[in-house]
Symmetry: C2
């Protein structure tokens, strides 16, 4: 794939997605059935998407008022979330090329388990797996895993770094040619080409080898969404793909330039990191119809649904602030990128907290509302303006939002030569134009401090 | 399903199965591809099997000589094992009725993660998930999870009991009618019908609720294979299905009577526990051809492949005993059921350790070698003789062994009225004739000591 073409990920939700989206008459509440995801997968593959992407949360969020009630009542973010790895497996089962990305947190899992999961998924699907690496930052999540409170951010990222190091060692524990299958000898696997990893670190002690051969892609595609300084550093070292969120072209351009530079600082080819900001295009046959659809969807956003989602993202209990005043400056332990976005919106539009809730829940990331041609114009501007290498497309309502984009915007992008008309490779790395990591690649990605340790 | 019909599970391996089976010309080394498992799933569903069942191990075993070499070289048990949950999801994606069982250990996982996994799988597949509950007893597994040695058995079972208690609470954390989906109100889920679990025990502190609604089956079908006193007690309290291994009809009958009695002691209806001993039928168009096939398969069993598998099962390093002498009495920290079986074989046939390795690797559980009618005779004898409620069918080689059984033995059982000709329900509980647990059912299954605590 040439650098002159963009990449497309679909941000699918294994539960109700955008606040209020489930209330839209065109949405299908099929989140519990495999056929729902299989149909989305077929739509995306027909649209030649690079990958489907699933976020994840390890609790029903309770950051708004210390209770899960607001979340559940409004069907807000995380009120219902299936385990994304199984959803991916079911989507992979009915497709041949579509990449499959799941979020798995490094905070409460073990590297042997997670490395094995992704190696399995990568083999089963012929090299289509991707791992969106996150650390868990909510007290509600900690309380489902034997703790009272979250770990400090510093510690979470240290653990994540070591987690990735162990995962890399485990994926490399079988040489690419270790599986011999000589029935005569017999020699199933060559013991000289399967290695213990003997990792002994600060967080993990893991002997290995993995009980799964090296994944077809070497490592699954690694995705990260860090907007904090720690997160951006981690992403620049480990990520093949970066998922982010920006309220304006300028903000996206600044982030793009910074990450590519950081990657170069870490000795990586900046073209080997793909930055795919999130957008929520709303498409209509005419501009007016698209705006009408936007307004109808916006009307369905419950302000508290938006606020409880924002409370989760910022990790700030927004129920303690007056609803009819402007949100004051707050300390944000959560996702800094979302806070930056919210400050931009609040100041630009002079919103009260209640209005902010509705606005945040109903915001159109990237601002793309219009005809397919108009949306394509916007995407082209961002892409050629070095704001991104492509996009992570959110659906304003599922699954219709993906069908609209695939039927209308994708052909427009294809006509302009901005997007593939056929897959040219088999694996997700092929689609993204990413090289396959050689065995031992992880050694180049761990922080210098860890290298000295090992 | 009437009690006059047997149940059939297929013991599928997500890697090379029976020692030497992978060397057989008719075997297909497709363990890494989803189509391999999807084809097996379609075969089993065409044969109206109750379920497919996957074992699991969290390491490449190294119990033979403290190295993984013997295991890898011979393709013996656990040399390669994909994560069974993803394999199940891929099989579930292409079938409508087949039950789907995966082994997940309680020793190194967290109950929130595992409860969520199975709830997800049960929803996606419309009520077809089953969990084979094990505790991990190998030092090689411990060393992949930050420990030097395994936990003592007592502790493993105490943890397993509390693990199941937490899982039960989490599955019940959404009432069956909690998901309302009233778009008008809006009321996505009724907060009064979703409950924190607030579990604080010896091993786990979990607040809940789960972020997945109550599974279609209430709880996934619970399977256990405990042959130790602790294991049998655990199984009698928790299990819907018991998987076991017996070298003779008499041994199976004694076990069957004991478990059904234990279940009654725990206040359960003994008919609500299905006991499915493992068999490895070898089938031919004539008795002589079946025996010839048996002999050829037996020839392919590498003695050290069998021994390293046995070393794993017993958790005893058999490399320290002379290969050409009889195995002396040993202390067995591992699976007592397998040791009982091995003592029976060793004494009956007067085998050296090397011969035992080949015999153990190539053994035909249940001794069913013959024509389809002869195998059906044997199954009928066990079933009507109160040795079991059905069988767990292992394939002497994959996937052919399942195709042979489905094409030849299943129709014979159907003709005799011993097995269904069509599925009569949709869920795995329907197939097995198991009632759907009411919310709160877990309280009846925890040990008395834990009930007092909570």
């Amino acid at each position: 794939m040439s650098d002159s073409q963009m990449h497309l990920a679909a941000f699918v939700t294994a539960g109700p997605g955008r606040p209020g989206g489930w209330r839209y008459p065109g949405s299908v509440p099929g989140w519990l059935n495999q056929s729902y995801y299989q149909n989305i997968a077929r739509t995306l593959e027909a649209g030649r998407f690079d990958l489907a992407f699933f976020a994840d949360i390890l609790s029903v969020p309770d950051r708004f008022g210390g209770s899960t009630d607001t979340q559940l009542r409004n069907g807000a973010l995380g009120s219902l979330r299936l385990d994304p790895l199984h959803v991916l497996a079911t989507m992979g089962a009915v497709t041949d090329r579509l990449g499959l990305a799941a979020t798995v947190s490094t905070t409460y899992a073990q590297p042997y388990t997670v490395a094995r999961s992704f190696a399995t998924l990568d083999h089963l699907t012929g090299g289509r797996a991707a791992w969106n690496i996150v650390t868990s930052f909510q007290a509600a999540e900690a309380r489902n895993f034997n703790r009272d409170s979250q770990f400090p951010r510093e510690l979470r990222y240290e653990r994540a770094d070591e987690f990735l190091e162990v995962a890399g060692k485990l994926w490399d524990s079988w040489d690419d040619d270790a599986l011999v299958l000589d029935a005569e000898e017999p020699l199933f696997a060559d013991p000289r080409r399967v290695h213990a990893v003997d990792h002994a670190g600060e967080f993990f002690t893991v002997r290995g080898p993995l009980n799964v051969p090296r994944p077809p892609q070497g490592y699954p595609v690694l995705i990260q969404a860090g907007a904090s300084a720690k997160g951006k550093d981690f992403a620049a070292r480990w990520s093949d793909v970066i998922f982010c969120s920006h309220a304006s072209l300028e903000s996206a351009q600044a982030f793009y330039a910074e990450i590519k530079e950081r990657a170069a600082t870490h000795g990586r080819d900046p073209r080997q990191i793909k930055i795919l900001p999130s957008i929520t295009p709303i498409i209509g046959p005419t501009t007016a119809v698209a705006r009408q659809l936007h307004d109808e969807l916006f009307e369905l956003v419950p302000p508290l649904g938006g606020l409880s989602t924002l409370a989760y993202h910022l990790d700030v209990d927004l129920s303690t602030f007056p609803l009819d005043e402007r949100l004051p400056d707050v300390e944000v332990p959560g996702v800094e990128g979302h806070y930056r976005e919210v400050r931009e919106i609040t100041e630009r539009d002079g919103l009260t907290l209640r209005q902010l809730g509705k606005q945040y829940g109903g915001r159109v990331e990237g601002g793309f509302v219009g005809t397919a041609a108009e949306v394509a114009d916007g995407l082209e501007q961002w892409f050629t303006g070095k704001a991104c290498d492509g996009f992570t497309v959110q659906a304003p309502y599922q699954p219709g939002g993906f069908e609209d984009f695939t039927r209308q915007v994708v052909p427009e992008l294809q006509r302009r030569g901005l997007f593939r008309t056929e897959y040219t490779g088999n694996t997700l790395r092929d689609h993204l134009g990413l090289s396959r990591p050689e065995s031992g690649e992880w050694t180049h990605r761990v922080p210098t401090a860890r290298k000295v340790l090992s």
